[in-house]
Symmetry: C2
Subunit: 322 residues, 2 copies
């Protein structure tokens, strides 16, 4: 074991915010020492409650996360927030946009906020997010909130990392609200109708209840519907209570453990995929080679299906060492 | 070559809708003969114009795609539509929801509509979508429209498959509109402000123009902003003209070819990743084994980082055959 990494781990565990911040950067960038760091921190993780929040754009997720963090701070609990930002596929940088709203927590060491960018398709965003959540967990945060923008498969993968998933809806989202709700219906442990002072909140609630009456979850939990107005704080204590209730429900049964095992099933597959990709595929497919192949396929000189078969065939073959 | 597949290819090319439908199902399910089918069809592809459309939920994408398809039918062009539906991560089925709106085309063989489900993280949705688009292309469709719900990385990957990308915005999307627009700003070849009869359309247009004034695309194309009211058809002819203009721009330069090469770069990587995953990872990671590992990690008996390293180490090692 590298002893400087050991010291770093102790700094993180003692609540040193700079050490925590540096660790997250290392994990995001997959630096040489991040692997050892993660391995050591893992032993100290598993104590936080991890809450995932998702919903459509415009649902006011950031404001709600902000208010919820404030609620937990009143209970003297420490909070870590991971905010997933949409990224331009061209520049690779994070769009910081509404993160500015989070500045209300500036100066409170009890709330640690980290924005993360959506990376390219090869990046394994949900794996990185899970690693960052684990680092926050090992640093002793009582609560880790993961906030995503959007309702795509990426977001579903991310919120499924959490112990508790909250789906945020708003009144008057238009024609597609039906299909959104259907897509995320089964991942919600708690529904929030934010901006509940707007016209149409009752209708959204009725629609959720109508859907719930059609199908029961495997575990028989009926996700409660909490109405909030995040920017005034209305309904936020009730949301914290709903989270407590679901946690009690999880703890009272085997379900919490089963959910963590199911999450690890998915995550181990993703980690293996990422690692195989990094070691094997990127080695076989240099920037130069892929450029040549892409031009051949784009020019219809070569079909991509036979090409991939050929490359994979070569990957499997190895010269015997004798 | 399997001669029955040869006959199938000819049926698809002659415009037989049943043969086309059966081919797409084979590709989606990765049946044993789908690989040979794709290989043969590829030689006949490359003639369609592929247009990707994305935007936030509630932007009225389906209605707009519907109207645009109608516009091209008036020009006697044939259209294929691929609608990506959000999927429940639990059931794996497609949520058909608003696909019902598409029924206006029922009975017109010139418009072929296919809904596709978002699959699990291992599924390679954008690869499958690209294959389905290629099959529609080989079947002789003049135009292939790919419609996605949401603005996540998945959606970005999918619309980037297209020759032309259209980003659909609506007035009054709320607080997050800034961050959404920033994330997709650079992938749009054409902006549409749908529901432009609503209050705020001018403001959205001003915001797009303000963003455009801050940064210029590499190719110096300034994406036009087209205002539509999809359900009345207003602005739809203008959108078709904007698509024509961009196509002319692409054809007048090397840009169209460069874009196709860039797309193939991404796609070949993804195809290689999927194939390696299928052959190597799934073999090494049976349902049973992953269940045992997941329980060990969830119980903190084992750290996942060392575990993956160990498994990948075993994958690379092979017994010499002598």
């Amino acid at each position: 074991m590298n002893s400087s990494i050991g010291i770093w781990v102790e700094e993180i565990r003692s609540g040193n915010v700079r050490a925590l911040s540096r660790a997250i950067t290392a994990v995001e960038n997959r630096t040489a020492d991040s692997h050892e760091l993660l391995r050591l921190l893992f032993a100290h993780s598993g104590r936080s409650r991890v809450v995932g929040l998702t919903g459509s754009p415009g649902a006011g997720k950031s404001t709600l996360v902000d208010a919820l963090a404030g609620q937990y701070r009143k209970r003297e609990q420490t909070v870590g927030i991971i905010a997933i930002d949409p990224t331009s596929p061209f520049t690779g940088g994070a769009i910081l946009g509404d993160r500015i709203r989070m500045q209300s927590h500036t100066g409170d060491a009890g709330t640690f906020i980290r924005s993360m960018a959506t990376r390219g398709a090869l990046g394994g965003l949900s794996s990185t997010t899970a690693d960052v959540a684990m680092v926050m967990d090992a640093s002793g945060r009582d609560l880790v909130l993961i906030e995503t923008v959007g309702v795509g498969q990426d977001e579903v993968d991310i919120v499924r990392l959490a112990d508790i998933t909250i789906v945020i809806l708003v009144p008057g989202m238009g024609d597609d609200v039906q299909s959104i709700k259907a897509g995320i219906m089964e991942i919600a442990d708690i529904f929030v109708i934010n901006k509940a002072d707007r016209e149409g909140a009752e209708r959204v609630e009725r629609e959720i209840k109508a859907m719930q009456s059609l199908s029961m979850r495997h575990d028989n939990w009926v996700p409660p519907v909490v109405k909030t107005v995040a920017y005034t704080g209305a309904g936020v204590p009730e949301l914290a209570t709903a989270i407590d209730d679901y946690e009690t429900f999880l703890d009272s049964s085997e379900l919490g453990r089963q959910r963590r095992i199911a999450n690890w099933r998915n995550r181990l597959r993703e980690m293996l995929r990422d690692e195989v990709l990094r070691r094997i595929v990127e080695g076989a497919f240099s920037e130069e080679a892929v450029g040549v192949y892409a031009a051949q396929v784009a020019g219809h000189e070569r079909d991509p299906y036979s090409l991939i078969e050929e490359i994979v065939g070569k990957l499997g073959r190895q010269e015997p060492q004798c």
